[in-house]
Symmetry: C2
Subunit: 391 residues, 2 copies
Amino acid sequence: MTVTAPKGFRASGVAAGIKATAGALDVALVVNDGPDTTAAAVFTGNRIKAAPVLWSQQVLKAGIVRAVILNSGGANACTGPAGFQDTHATAEHTAAVLSGRASRFPVGAGDVAVCSTGLIGERLPMPKLLHGVDAAARGLSRDGGAEAAKAIMTTDTVPKTAVHSGQGFTVGGMAKGAGMLAPGLATMLVVLTTDAVADASILDAALREATAVTFDRIDSDGCMSTNDTVLLMASGASRIEPTPAELAEAVTAVCADLARQLIADAEGATKEIAIDVTGAASAADAVEVGRSIARNNLVKTAFFGNDPNWGRILAAIGTTAAAFEPDEVDVAINGVWICKGGAAGEDRSKVDLSARGVTVTVNLHAGEESATVWTNDLSMGYVHENSAYSS
Amino acid sequence: MTVTAPKGFRASGVAAGIKATAGALDVALVVNDGPDTTAAAVFTGNRIKAAPVLWSQQVLKAGIVRAVILNSGGANACTGPAGFQDTHATAEHTAAVLSGRASRFPVGAGDVAVCSTGLIGERLPMPKLLHGVDAAARGLSRDGGAEAAKAIMTTDTVPKTAVHSGQGFTVGGMAKGAGMLAPGLATMLVVLTTDAVADASILDAALREATAVTFDRIDSDGCMSTNDTVLLMASGASRIEPTPAELAEAVTAVCADLARQLIADAEGATKEIAIDVTGAASAADAVEVGRSIARNNLVKTAFFGNDPNWGRILAAIGTTAAAFEPDEVDVAINGVWICKGGAAGEDRSKVDLSARGVTVTVNLHAGEESATVWTNDLSMGYVHENSAYSS
């Protein structure tokens, strides 16, 4: 169900031959049949933005999205003006096909968001992609969410979908992403749908509130992508207009679910690590400390080796500008306080790191604020996957 | 010869049993016999500083260092007040031994710098260490530089030494460091000696000028240590007082030599990568761009896989605040301009990555400034070495 769980949406996923693997789904389409077509989105903070990001940023300025066309198998990033024309042509073609027969409204290219993911720097095979758009439009269905979620996968091993029900309305979502997961959004495409009634500014506020505490707090490998897009579309088909807080809560629930699925499927990972930073002077301090630990290759390799190396965690904390005194920091790994007051605490042999899930707890003793950042270990598998294949 | 190449210095390296491996050298001593005993140092930017760093910072305030005692096998970091007392006791013992028989001057503990390297968070075995100080004092020799360089090794596979001759004076140096190499000094201990005549302020200026363009521009794994120390001691034994510029040039030459040796010996590395950033609006912009590329795990794994993946380089550049336009950036790998104007240039198949040395050239087309940052690839060996052993 995923993005088609809320009323008013149809979706599809088809194989257009863009991916090298024969028969692999690589084009997805999600259409909002209304009655409303409000939308909001957040995009990568990377200054090198893929053509579809530059396009979709323009589309979103009006706060209206009728459909989003997505492809895997190529990022269409660093492709110059020709790459931007490819994105424009994709939106034009999608709009024309939908207006012709597959939509209840006439659709303009300016109402079609575009997302791409895959190798940076290569042009998309446009004839294949445009045929894929035709097939995706033909395949649109109220049950198409699952196929759409499969069609946006790259190195993902499983499709990622989530649904949350509010009071009389529903939020659904799908995501792709397994590497290049970093601050300011992971390498990921996320499409969220809701049948709630909400204008674009309410959607925008809900989406920013949700991403700030979910996607912006996962950091698999510190690498920020050129293509990240999180798009939220509202059909209003439930006729229910939740309060902004109710909507934000539901959107956050779906984003949190998808974010955890991204970390769970990160390339080569053998550990899913929650870093709970407490006792911080501010939430920003807590996030900075959590992210510094999450990005530290020596911490990450230690966890791959099941080594509760708290000294490396302290060294990572010491690189931040957060408020704390070095001789007051406590660190627990899976509940064992192996560092107390900046020095050795309980014996490291008490720490059991045999499970996939790991919790690192840091108490800065500098205030009352806290935040959790999620990350992975740095494994042989990560190096293998990212050295053996161009992506 | 190394640190004993300049006149006025004796050194030694002995096995004190601090390292687990029987017979491994682990205590080094370098003594300045004068006539001058001026000194300067730079220390880690990490806010979690090891006890020997906190101690040596105090010693250096007077601009006088008579001797430096170094140990491998334990960092004495995150060891609390007891660890600081251990460092103090080491300096006291070194001063007493040197005053008793091994020095031409009475030596106070406040004239003895201390450096430690190894696992964070564990106390040093003080009886062994103090016996090692005795042995090191007995072993002091004008030929002892090579043994001293061996005694500070941790995961280093080779000792690292360098010498540069100026007009009538000499600068010598030794370094250790193979991982945790990052901005604001690598995980490293460096002792530099010179027989030039120079007061502490001149030494300080020369050292800061040298480290800014050498050790501060190597970044093996983005991890900053708790123990980094670069110490420069001057004996004045040559009776030559170089100009500040002459001194800085000689110190920079030795630092550059040692910095390249650190990158060459980085843990698990199969590539030594020079990132030349040109056309920058400022040197700071050039360093920021170079460092962003150097720290990007996806770039580093691509080089491990001999993949000239310029898209990942662009994505890394895009995360910086440097002045540039995305559609004006050129990137060459080993001289092949595979990215022109932010899009594909020459064919990637032309890039030969079979050699250990790699040069990445970035032209931002935003100004006239440039900088080079050195780094390594991210290999299976790095993950293995840092997951299999606590360090």
